[in-house]
């Protein structure tokens, strides 16, 4: 597997503020790589360096084998950008705006096809200034993918999308990945990161505080919670006898933190419930979510 992005010991300062503090990571070809972090954690600065808008103070970034800051037009032809600011010349129509940008690339996607991909076909003749916030964002995305990029940067692409549009967008992005496009994504939606990202890095205060696939990150977070309403007449001791582990009562729910033994405990419990025809109300097996991972990693867990 080749790497489309190679970042080594990247540092960027603005005056006394260290925006990026010695970070290193790689993005493989054909994967969706997520960059998560709170506002101001250094995501946008990192993206700006990778996109060639800023020069790092120290360290190196290679994007598609080139230094983005000095790369030529041919390099830009292979890069797609969805920037965070979503401001356009309000008097042009959607088609005009997208066609203009199509003209900049050497082998662009057809404008109609692109608009269909982002779900803007019905708004093609509308002036950009009259679109709603979510619709403007789709124009952004259209501009990002119009040039058939081999590497696509998406900076919070679905802000303002309605749930259906977001789900559609995810399908589009997965489709692009399946075509072989490598994608770097920042987002505030953990659901989105969990669904889309093959690998992700969480940034806090300019550093990468966690990196890996979402499932590794989640399992590294530790235990899964098993809980249910304690059936009437059953004590914690009796429960221990049935399952072989200790439960505590929390919020009126019998609760236990489990690791690898989850499978066996659950099976014993289920068999017991079935055989005694006891109904286990509100049974839940909760693994930590990416939100928990995020809040834990950025030091915001309560």
């Amino acid at each position: 597997m080749t790497d489309v992005i190679e970042v080594n010991n990247l540092t960027r300062r603005f005056g006394r503020l260290v925006a990026i503090d010695d970070i290193s990571f790689t993005v493989h070809e054909g994967e969706i790589f997520g960059l998560l972090g709170e506002n101001g954690a250094g995501k946008t600065t990192t993206l700006e360096i990778l996109e060639g808008f800023q020069k790092p103070d120290r360290g190196s970034a290679l994007v598609l084998g080139h230094n983005p800051y000095t790369a030529h037009r041919q390099w830009r032809d292979r890069i797609g950008l969805v920037l965070q600011e979503s401001d356009f010349d309000p008097v042009h129509t959607v088609t005009e705006t997208v066609s203009l940008f199509a003209g900049f690339f050497s082998h662009p996607r057809a404008v109609d096809e692109t608009l269909a991909l982002v779900g803007l076909t019905a708004k093609a003749k509308e002036r950009v200034g009259r679109l709603s916030g979510g619709q403007k964002r789709r124009v952004d995305v259209a501009l990002g993918i119009i040039g058939r990029p081999s590497l696509l940067f998406l900076d919070e692409p679905t802000t303002g999308f309605d749930p259906i549009a977001r789900a559609d967008f995810w399908t589009v992005i997965e489709g692009l990945r399946d075509e072989g496009t490598s994608i770097v994504l920042t987002t505030h939606y953990m659901e989105e990161a969990e669904r889309l990202c093959d690998r992700l890095a969480i940034m806090a205060k300019g550093q990468i505080v966690a990196e890996g696939t979402s499932s590794t990150l989640i399992s590294e977070m530790g235990a899964t919670t098993l809980r249910f309403e304690l059936p009437r007449g059953l004590g914690l001791d009796a429960l221990r006898a049935i399952t072989g582990i200790d439960f505590v009562l929390r919020d009126n729910l019998a609760t236990a933190l489990l690791g690898a033994e989850l499978q066996s405990v659950l099976r014993r419990l289920m068999t017991w419930a079935e055989s005694t025809e006891v109904h286990l109300h509100r049974l839940e097996v909760l693994r930590p979510s990416l939100t928990d991972v995020f809040l834990g990693a950025t030091g915001n867990d309560r």
């Binding site: 505030h188 659901e191 499932s215 659950l266 289920m270 109904h279 049974l283 693994r287």
Partner: protein
């Protein structure tokens, strides 16, 4: 009796587009009401109509049973979708100004400004210009602008868009607090999971028409029991195929959502799942708002 905002038979046409079509619903005070709908459903038009920023072809909007005049309007708070603040004016001064436009005296406007900056954790940015703030902080200032005069009704267009989890938590807590203290809160959002946690009831519209309105609890508990199951290594939910009494409602991101005809089928499902791989999630779920939403718009 607590105050209530009533919208009755709102209609508005823009050229060939019927933005609002006989839309009626109400927002009781003391509650956070979620206002949902796909892009272009007419949410923003409705919210603007409450402040007479859009003229209606038909329909009336009542606050406590009476038409909304200037004085009433001044006691509402509004956060428009496209954020609007003076970019080159310091935060605190701007909030004070807006408070005074809503009829506060100087000392009260100043005190309210201080209080909200503190509550929204942006006291250190009080003297920065709005354009110097991060997106998340601008959003907080925008919310403070809607709150500074202690409104009786809050109309918020996408107040949570683009916020990180920390910001969502702060702003969400403020909104719940406001509702508890008797304020009516109507907020539009596309983040249904957040709306689910935040709102007591929701109103869903599509193409300018009301589709569903009701309490989140009622909407969620309606229908058959649901399960969300995650089996390690499984992506397409193949293991669930052929299970009787079970319908698959969604397979996404390695997670399978099932609708059970009978709650007692759950051990059987777990068995099958466990045979397919290690079970890492096995949740009895309420019907999620996103499902309600999707079904409503189908």
């Amino acid at each position: 009796m607590s105050a209530v905002l009533e919208l009755r038979g709102l209609s508005r046409r823009y050229g060939s587009v019927q933005a609002l079509d006989e839309l009626s619903f109400s927002v009781p005070s003391g509650e956070v009401v979620g206002f949902l709908g796909p892009n272009g459903a007419g949410k923003t038009t409705t919210m603007r109509a409450i402040f007479a920023l859009t003229e209606l072809d038909a329909g009336t909007i009542l606050w406590n049973g009476a038409a909304i005049g200037e004085a009433e309007q001044r006691r509402f708070g509004y956060m428009p979708e496209e954020r609007g603040l003076y970019p080159n004016m310091p935060v605190a001064e701007q909030l004070e100004y807006l408070g005074r436009l809503h009829g506060l005296s100087i000392p009260r406007a100043r005190a309210a400004t201080r209080q909200w900056l503190e509550r929204l954790e942006i006291t250190d940015r009080a003297h920065s210009k709005v354009e110097e703030l991060s997106h998340g902080n601008q959003q907080r200032v925008q919310l403070a602008a809607a709150l500074v005069h202690s409104p009786e009704l809050l109309i918020l267009d996408e107040p949570l868009a683009g916020l990180d989890p920390g910001g969502i938590e702060t702003i969400g807590a403020v909104l719940v607090e406001q509702a508890k203290s008797g304020c009516g809160v109507l907020l539009s959002s596309h983040q249904l999971d957040l709306v689910e946690n935040l709102c007591e009831s929701v109103t869903i519209i599509n193409q300018g028409r009301l589709v569903v309105a009701g309490r989140v609890d009622d909407l969620a508990s309606a229908g058959h029991p649901r399960l969300a199951v995650r089996v390690e290594g499984d992506r397409d939910g193949a293991w669930v195929r052929g299970l009787a009494g079970v319908t698959v409602s969604e397979v996404a991101g390695g997670e399978v959502r099932l609708v059970l005809e009978d709650e007692n089928d759950s051990p059987r499902v777990l068995d099958v799942a466990a045979r397919a791989g290690r079970v890492t999630k096995f949740d009895f779920e309420r019907r999620r708002l996103s499902e309600v939403f999707r079904e409503a718009l189908r």
